[in-house]
């Protein structure tokens, strides 16, 4: 499997990372190199093997679905690059 420039552009878009058009060829080549390395996995017989879900056999704990925390919007917003009137502020999303 090799990654072409269009695929590299699509992956960058999916990852929400802007990549200048002139850098896409190098990116495609790098990603291809890494994928080739991963393709060694095709040598392994994985028939009847269940994909690992949890590395240690454990049941996730359950707890009552109650509110136990909160009520401090100023702390939540303290690290925001832009916050106004108790909200996170972002560029306009709807016309």
């Amino acid at each position: 499997m090799s990654i072409d420039i269009d695929t590299a552009r699509r992956v960058a878009k999916l990852a929400r990372i802007s990549v200048p058009e002139q850098d896409l060829a190098a990116l495609a080549e790098e990603l291809t190199g890494i994928l080739r390395f991963m393709e060694q996995l095709n040598e392994v017989n994985v028939e009847d093997v269940e994909p690992m879900v949890s590395v240690t056999p454990m049941r996730l704990k359950r707890r009552p679905d109650g509110v136990t925390d909160g009520g401090y919007p100023e702390k939540i917003l303290a690290n925001a690059p832009d916050a106004r009137e108790g909200f996170f502020a972002v560029p306009k999303v709807v016309e």
């Binding site: 890494i34 060694q40 996995l41 392994v44 690290n79 996170f88 560029p91």
Partner: protein, 492 residues
């Protein structure tokens, strides 16, 4: 001997006997940090907090309430959230981030009376094996063999260098594919990755959630036992932390390994591995044999597939975990152009906030999880991961108590020397450590000797799940038998 050069166990004795105060011990470390700036290990020193905590520790010591870590000055990897103190994961995208909360591991340390000296340099988001992906610039290894500056390894390179250079008595590290054990081996210290679930991950910046585990980086095995005791245990804030009782790790250090069985996996004999590493490994096995352990050859047939499995699973999880860095809730937002919408904000923020290796891994992860490739890459890797774990289970089922391997395929290399290498060549650094994360097992790197250039080399012991106590005891036996006492000659 300066106070900063003490081990935790030695300092604990001195503090309890009131031979010196926690404040004096802390001052000694702060002076070492000031004098050690050329190492670039401490990136956010916190001397005011340290002195305040030291005075509080002295009050506890005076009152006779002194847990083992009381008054012990430690460094904290930049990956841990520390309330009111920068936690940047060595990334530009978290510039200015000051958490409003404290990670469970660090909270447990402060509750036990430990003293925070500051935050330690690392590879960006713990992705790297040489500390060269850090936004703060690389850490320099205190060990040297000529006029080159060497890497301390990564990603916990700042932690390793700080402990090796005695800037602190111990440090926290995290290990996703070898990030505690490889830097420990490169700097001649002890690094322990506990069983997955032994230590809470709450408040630690996530890289690959099914692999990440925090652990101690210390001068001795005993210190690793003491520090693990302080940070281990179930945590209601981390649903993957295990409800398993925490034994007394230090009490397990009897040094008696008679009747124990140590496995030597033939697949870890790598073509092109330096002969010195092979020799150290054999010596390690001999030392165990002399101490009364049984040495058996074992096979872990899927070992060669561990790295490619890791480089599917870890980037896949990272691409999901790092989606939260979007310039909205914390950290840095890119400057936007007139008319830029929210998508441009995300794309520009992430393009300038993440470094090259992090972007590469996010994109690889995005690709292997994307429609049409999920089965071919991600699901296949999860199946091979199950086989890798089964290899270990079969070895343990045959009565093996621990597995002895080299910690790294080489000694520390020069900063910049891998600049022209492909990403895959850099990934080979983790070849002996990454299997342990994939199988969720505990692993410890112990200094085992010097190579002919005079650089430290480490051996790794891999234990049964939840048997850190037995593992630490075997590591303690190895440490005692090897008698590694070398320290880096001070040049900084």
């Amino acid at each position: 001997m300066n106070l900063n050069e003490l081990t935790i166990a030695q300092a604990r004795e001195g503090l309890r006997r009131r031979e010196f105060s926690a404040e004096e011990l802390t001052m000694s470390c702060l002076a070492a940090i000031d004098a050690g700036q050329a190492l670039n290990a401490f990136v956010h020193p916190t001397p005011e907090i340290a002195l305040e905590q030291a005075r509080a520790a002295d009050a506890r010591l005076a009152a006779g309430d002194a847990p083992s870590m009381c008054g012990i000055p430690v460094g904290i990897k930049d990956l841990f959230c520390t309330k009111g103190v920068a936690a940047q994961a060595a990334s530009r995208i978290l510039e200015g981030f000051r958490p409003e909360y404290e990670s469970t591991v660090t909270q447990k340390l402060w509750d036990a009376g430990a003293v925070m000296l500051g935050k330690l340099n690392m590879d960006e988001f713990a992705m790297g094996s040489s500390n060269e992906t850090s936004v703060y610039g690389p850490v320099v290894n205190p060990w040297r063999c000529d006029d080159r500056e060497l890497t301390p390894g990564g990603s916990s390179g700042g932690s390793a260098a700080a402990v090796a250079a005695a800037l602190c008595l111990a440090a926290t590290g995290t290990d996703t594919g070898g990030s505690i054990r490889q830097p420990a081996a490169f700097t001649g210290i002890v690094g322990l990755k506990p069983t997955y679930g032994r230590v809470s991950r709450w408040g630690i910046v996530a890289f690959a959630s099914s692999l990440d585990q925090a652990g101690p980086m210390t001068k001795t095995v005993r210190d690793a036992a003491i520090m693990l005791q302080a940070i281990a245990g179930p945590d209601p804030k981390d649903s993957t932390s295990a409800e398993i009782p925490v034994p007394d790790f230090e009490a397990a250090l009897t040094g008696d390994v008679r009747g124990r069985t140590i496995g030597i996996p033939r697949e870890y004999r790598m073509p092109g591995m330096p002969e010195e590493i092979e020799r150290l490994w054999q010596q390690g096995a001999e030392l165990f044999r002399s101490a009364g352990a049984r040495i058996v050859d074992i096979t872990l047939p899927h070992t060669k597939y561990a790295l490619p499995t890791y480089y599917v699973v870890a980037p896949a999880e990272a691409s999901s975990n790092l989606a939260r860095y979007d310039g909205v809730r914390y950290g840095r937002r890119a400057r936007l152009a007139q008319g830029d919408g929210i998508t441009e904000m995300y794309e520009k923020t992430r393009a300038e906030g993440f470094g090259a290796e992090v972007k590469r891994r996010i994109m690889i992860g995005t690709y292997v999880l994307s429609a049409g490739f999920y089965d071919a890459y991600y699901n296949r890797a999860r199946k091979v991961r199950a086989l890798i774990k089964r290899d270990f289970e079969e070895a343990f089922a045959q009565g093996v108590d621990a597995i002895l391997t080299p910690a790294t395929p080489s000694a520390a290399f020069g900063l910049g020397e891998m600049a022209s290498a492909s990403p895959v060549e850099m990934y080979l650094n983790d070849v002996f450590t990454v299997t342990v994360n994939l199988a969720g097992l505990p692993g410890i790197a112990v200094p085992a000797g010097l190579d002919r250039q005079g650089l430290p080399l480490g051996l790794q012991l891999i234990g049964r799940p939840w048997d850190e106590a037995g593992l630490l005891n075997m590591a303690h036996c190895l440490e005692t038998a090897v008698g590694f006492v070398s320290k880096p000659a001070r040049w900084w």
